[in-house]
Symmetry: C2
Subunit: 484 residues, 2 copies
């Protein structure tokens, strides 16, 4: 009896696993593999200990563990046995590969986001308008973080907090919205989200019943389009021109069908960068009241505005009872700091918070509080002023390079704000081939199709300039023009 | 003409708003309120500037802003006019209160989470089994965070990263799972989530098609129950006894109906704290293969185990092809650090990540990386050892106090692990009244109903002891017994 036991135990004194764990694993595995049968007896702890060269206590602990787990049973005075109530064990020792029924939801992966793919080290990447992470206020953030951690009341922050987010951050956002966007939001009706992505996800899920019609801009923000689609919406598009979404076309649509919501990016339209003009704004609000639809305003990079005019938020209009407002601090700090927010009518926000609790309970209270302090002490505003100046320079450089390198091969409007330029190629383009060539020469751009519904072909690309410094921008645009 | 203008402008030199902003706001508001009509002319910039006492340039800038926004038009040599294409403005100046159709989704709010409510300063709170935030490894976390921020490669972390989470953290979790839970997960099939809450949300949404049957433990974790319900599942319950979920009852259910998934908490069952015994584990796995259902294993506080046995994860079984494994680092660090993870079959994980991207794109890459480093350098393991010793003491104190203060008025089993005790009252209880009285005396406990489906009445309460120190625990239990 004792011989086979010894060969089974290949005890090592040099692993992470304790001796107790090693011994109990061997026995457990022998049971699972059917080599030790239900009801069989085990050697006494003293004998086994001697045999495998460990302290007797070690074997006793291993047996106790296996008894507690239900693998073994101890019978008074008779010793230790393999438990009797174990079900019959598999005949085969091969892992079973039968998988669960695979009709999962969310199977498709439409990967049109450039950021999804890992970046080559030395590529010059024209992203879709993201900020330059090298300008992120890291030192300030790190210090604010540390201050919060050293604070007396920090324990409160570490437990469960409000589902709407840190109260102080909501207060600071309310102050900022009133000052910069003309929007007076009740702190109780603001919810901090994991980036504006989660805000749109929540809004779509709360608003849309399957079959509801949701209008999106064309061209427009594909990620939002996808979220409304996934929520069950029937998507309709309305074209965008130099003054923003065509509200007359929208009105015609209202006459034809019941619309549940209209998703717009009025400040710097995505992807065209145009500002929606005042007349259109008023009409959009009037239509939302007349035809009873929600307007979802994505004010995604309002901090970055360089032009003369700086329209306040649509939601600031005194008749904007149906406007849901979404924005983000991620563009001001860094994409990895997922910090968005949403505000809207109280009843809507109540439902939204109910869903938010289901998804992740609450945000990162510590990070939220740290950012709130940077807003309160003026650090964020100073940072914004600093980077706006940098980005304005880059925009101007972008304009100069485009004019100089491309001449009349491209057309574009100098963007009033945001971190990207919407560029039209005045010749027939084979974009996949062009992008392939560019990549060989170290430059990457966003594929042009994804901005239009059904990826309809287009002569435009969206060139982000925010994340590239002077040298990168100059070099990148030179390569692009030489490759034409 | 000039008189009324002057009275309109009540310029302040002591606000956050620039003079340009103040002037353009006055004009914009006059247009919106219908007091300046479409097509009307404005005074020249020089005249207006003189009249309201500002520099002429200021008025020019304000006019330019309003022109860019579409409120005004400039006609060559004739001056500046209110834009012609503005739609008719509202007749009334009262805010419109007509709200959007209010048939939102997610309207109900079942608030059974004690943590939802703000805590009174000096209450002794027996929560549901949360850790003591006063023991959180704050200094270590803060330093790790700072180190990441000072690192050369930090810029990469600040941009968009992997939807599955920081690679290094996934690697560290894989190592830890193999070492502590016997589970060998492919790093590519691990996804970091915002707490285990998000992991359960994602799993429910990916697995459940409306009408699918999902089995949950009774009593069980209400938050998981709710997520499956919201995903469209038909819920069935199977009772839990001292050995875990009753697998024979589950088998009978399998014979009656097609089951899509079974949600279990085998390690320390929630709320009863019992460990699922080995025989039941094997049978559950065998049933999942025979009847083709997914097992969702929520291994939510595996770090805190004090007893002799420490069953490995269900998912570690070599036949666990259908097991989806969920756990969390939040209980080890602090609830506010929402850091969960999930792993399962590759095809399932692919769908899950697709949904995750929709919700919030990715996790907090910086925090994830900081925690990965604390796992790599052994800090987390040291912290775990330290707090396990503290919590074991608290458990033993809990046991002693319950025995001493309550005698045979309550029954309970000493929990093998976790941070709570499942206590049965051996007399008829009026819980709402009892809780009311307790609160007056400074003690709060979790209402007992929420653990059972349909809030069926119960004699049990779940008393968390982890978050209370020696004095709080002793005092709290004394008050509870005196109030009986």
């Amino acid at each position: 009896m004792l011989r086979p036991w010894k060969t089974l135990f290949n005890i090592s004194f040099h692993t992470d696993h304790t001796l107790v764990r090693q011994i109990s694993e061997v026995i457990r595995n022998e049971i699972i593999r059917g080599r030790l049968e239900s009801g069989a007896s085990l050697p006494g702890s003293r004998a086994l200990a001697q045999d495998i060269g460990v302290n007797r206590k070690t074997v006793v602990f291993a047996y106790e563990a296996l008894i507690a787990e239900g693998w073994l049973e101890s019978r008074h005075k008779s010793g230790t046995f393999i438990a009797k109530n174990l079900p019959l064990i598999a005949e085969t020792s091969k892992p079973v590969l039968k998988r669960i029924v695979s009709n999962f939801n969310y199977i498709q992966h439409d990967s049109f986001d450039l950021n999804d793919r890992p970046l080559d080290g030395n590529l010059i990447v024209f992203n879709e308008g993201g900020p330059d992470t090298r300008l992120a206020p890291l030192r300030e953030l790190s210090m604010a973080y540390k201050r919060v951690f050293q604070r007396q009341g920090k324990w409160r922050l570490l437990g469960y907090g409000s589902e709407k987010g840190d109260l102080k951050l909501r207060e600071m956002i309310a102050v900022m919205l009133a000052r910069d966007r003309g929007l007076h939001a009740d702190v109780a009706d603001i919810c901090i989200t994991r980036g504006s992505q989660m805000a749109i996800y929540l809004a779509a899920k709360v608003l849309v019943h399957p079959g509801d019609v949701v209008v999106v801009e064309n061209p427009g923000y594909y990620a939002a389009r996808k979220l409304f689609h996934e929520a069950g919406a029937v998507l309709k598009t309305v074209d965008v021109d130099k003054d923003g979404i065509n509200v007359d076309a929208l009105e015609e649509l209202c006459l034809q069908t019941k619309i549940k919501a209209v998703y717009v990016t009025p400040h710097h339209q995505f992807p065209t960068t145009v500002m929606m003009k005042a007349g259109r704004r008023i009409k959009l609000i009037e239509l939302s009241l007349k035809y009873h639809f929600a307007v979802i305003e994505d004010d995604y990079d309002h901090e970055y505005h360089f032009g003369a005019g700086n329209n306040l938020a649509l939601a600031s209009n005194y008749k904007a009872a149906n406007v849901i407002y979404i924005s983000s601090l991620s563009k001001l700090i860094a994409p990895a700091i997922r910090m968005g927010y949403i505000t809207g009518p109280a009843a809507f926000m109540k439902s939204l918070v109910n869903l938010r609790v289901q998804i992740d309970r609450q945000g990162d209270a510590i990070m939220e509080h740290a950012i709130a302090e940077l807003m309160e002490d003026g650090t964020m505003a100073r940072h914004a002023r600093k980077v706006v100046a940098v980005y304005k320079e880059r925009r101007d450089l972008m304009e100069a390079c485009l004019l100089q390198n491309f001449g009349d091969q491209v057309s574009f409007r100098k963007p009033e704000g945001g971190l990207a330029c919407w560029v039209k190629f005045n010749r027939e383009m084979n974009f996949p081939q062009y992008m392939e060539l560019l990549k060989l020469r170290g430059v990457q751009v966003v594929p042009p199709g994804s901005f239009y519904l059904n990826n309809q072909p287009s002569d435009y690309i969206r060139l982000g300039y925010g994340s590239l410094n002077k040298e990168e921008l100059t070099e990148g645009l030179k390569v692009m023009s030489c490759t034409l």
